[in-house]
């Protein structure tokens, strides 16, 4: 196990490092599914950068040093996304979040870390992170996999995007609009 490195371990609720037993399901827009083990995920190219977020009541978390896999890399394994597709990110606790293609291309608001004022045009990247500040993610931070929407210059993004305990990334077409449009 030692030869595999820190990334293969996670903090348990008893504050011990233990091997990670976690699968990530990737579902393409045609319904095809690919399941990656944690070890397979960590064999993919990774990015190490800065990122942070704030909660709905304005509590700031980070910016941290985070390490993870670009979402684009993962989605390409199941055919990628087209401009009309949506991505649903689902988690172990029943939480999910939906993004459209433009958001994944960076159309996400960024905010100053000191004032929480909007800073338009901050570059963002979607990562599935497994390390924070050089350590495996803690359980409460979403171990072993968390969606992070980061800005390398230290700008923050909104916390509801940062899905913890990610188990599934599913690409799909938008639901047909119901009723009469407004």
């Amino acid at each position: 196990m030692a030869a595999l490195g820190l990334g293969y371990l996670q903090w348990t609720q008893h504050n011990r490092l233990a091997p990670v037993d976690w699968d990530l399901a990737l579902v393409g827009r045609d319904g095809s599914e690919k399941v990656l083990s944690y070890a397979e995920l960590l064999a993919l190219p990774t990015v190490e950068t800065a990122g942070g977020f704030f909660s709905s009541v304005g509590t700031i978390y980070g910016p941290f040093r985070v390490k993870g896999i670009p979402l684009e890399t993962l989605l390409d394994l199941v055919g990628g996304m087209t401009a009309s597709d949506l991505l649903q990110v689902s988690a172990r606790d029943g939480y999910s979040m939906v993004f459209d293609y433009r958001q994944l291309q960076g159309d996400i608001d960024t905010f100053a870390a000191d004032t929480l004022r909007l800073v338009p045009g901050g570059a963002v990247q979607f990562l599935l992170i497994f390390e924070q500040d050089g350590q495996p993610l803690a359980e409460n931070d979403g171990a072993p996999l968390r969606l992070a929407i980061i800005n390398p210059d230290g700008l923050l993004t909104e916390g509801h995007w940062w899905v913890r305990w990610v188990t599934r990334l599913g690409v799909r077409a938008p639901s047909p609009a119901a009723g009469s449009g407004n």
Partner: protein, 355 residues
């Protein structure tokens, strides 16, 4: 050990040595650890609850009140799904507590996470603005929708997928169309959406359907009230649908909307519709995202698995007592007569508080 030392050095020397050892080792009589009372509340209650924390701790120095704010659904999930634990929960939409707590059993138990709630406060939906907002000197309760419909006016709402204030803003706009007999008001005020927000009307029942992704072409939609207030104060938008208490706490201007649409009471019922907002994506597996139009009512409960039930009752008594009422009033939070939905389940320590 002590007997041997006494025999050789005498009792005074033993005391002196003992004191020396204690002082060198830094030992002190163990300080009594404070009870950590975790109070989880809706974001719109954060300001009065922060005051409540200080006042309660001054009266109860053995208690450390920890206030934690979230959206109301997340307030409940902290206890029911995230294992974070909590002693007192207070949410901005009382209707969330029965389906998410009464109907859900604790693991390996036939007990529910909660069995009662007290509704204790309300709020009023309206329009927050600053002196720099366009037409700030013109807007009032009679012309607000005309002002918001102007092409150069920027309106903000919080995202109805994430925030109760957001879906309540949609409800208010639709009700306003009925009140003023202006069928296009909803579209005129909010503008078009890239993924359509649709309306389903069948007789007296109307459902506003919010799509997976909310991308307005005219209005600004932001994830939370915190962000919305930030862009209002920076001048990026002119007006934002907000609660009265939040606007007043930030020293913002506030347009009070007519009672039929401000959701401060059930006066909306006079318009004759059963209105709902349905979110076309399920953010939480534990909550069907369809919200019925109701008056804004804040609810509180003590979770059945809360670690400090006696202290929790004491805090609730303080919160709804005279000092708590003074704090709420100073922070512009409208208080209502206390009502308990299931009095037979209320802890005896609280029984005298409610009708």
């Amino acid at each position: 050990m002590q007997t041997q030392l006494q025999g050789r050095l005498g009792p005074l020397a033993v005391v002196a040595v003992s004191l020396l050892v204690l002082s060198l080792s830094g030992c002190k009589p163990a300080a009594r650890e404070k009870v950590k009372l975790k109070v989880i509340c809706a974001g719109s209650l954060m300001v009065p609850f922060a005051e409540m924390e200080k006042a309660y701790e001054a009266l109860h120095p053995d208690v450390d009140v920890l206030i934690e704010g979230h959206g109301s659904v997340q307030v409940i999930r902290q206890v029911t799904e995230l294992g974070a634990g909590g002693d007192v929960l207070a949410v901005a939409d009382h209707s969330l507590i029965p389906p998410m707590m009464y109907d859900v059993k604790m693991p390996d138990s036939d007990r529910s996470y909660a069995t009662w709630q007290i509704t204790f406060a309300g709020n009023t939906l309206g329009l927050a603005y600053t002196p720099a907002s366009r037409y700030a000197d013109e807007i009032d309760a009679s012309n607000w929708y005309e002002i918001l419909s102007r092409p150069d006016v920027k309106l903000g709402i919080s995202d109805p997928r994430f925030d109760a204030c957001g879906y309540r803003a949609l409800m208010a706009c639709w009700l306003a169309g009925v009140l003023y007999d202006k069928p296009d008001l909803f579209r005129d005020v909010l503008g078009e959406f890239e993924y359509p927000v649709s309306l389903q009307v069948q007789g007296e029942r109307c459902t506003i359907v919010v799509p997976n992704v909310v991308r307005p072409l005219k209005a600004s939609v932001r994830g939370s009230s915190v962000v919305l207030l930030g862009i209002l104060e920076s001048g990026d938008i002119d007006y934002a649908f907000e609660y009265l208490s939040v606007a007043r706490q930030r020293n913002l201007g506030f347009v009070e909307l007519p009672p039929q649409i401000n959701l401060a009471s059930d006066a909306f019922r006079s318009l004759g519709y059963d209105l709902r907002v349905k979110i076309d994506y399920q953010r939480y597996a534990s909550l069907i995202p369809e919200f019925r139009c109701q008056e804004i009512l804040y609810g509180l409960t003590i979770p059945e698995n809360g670690p400090h039930p006696q202290h929790a009752c004491s805090f609730v008594r303080f919160m709804v007592g005279l000092e708590g009422q003074r704090i709420f009033a100073a922070q512009f939070q409208p208080l209502l007569p206390l009502v308990v939905d299931r009095p037979e389940h209320l802890p005896v320590e609280l029984a005298d508080l409610v009708q």
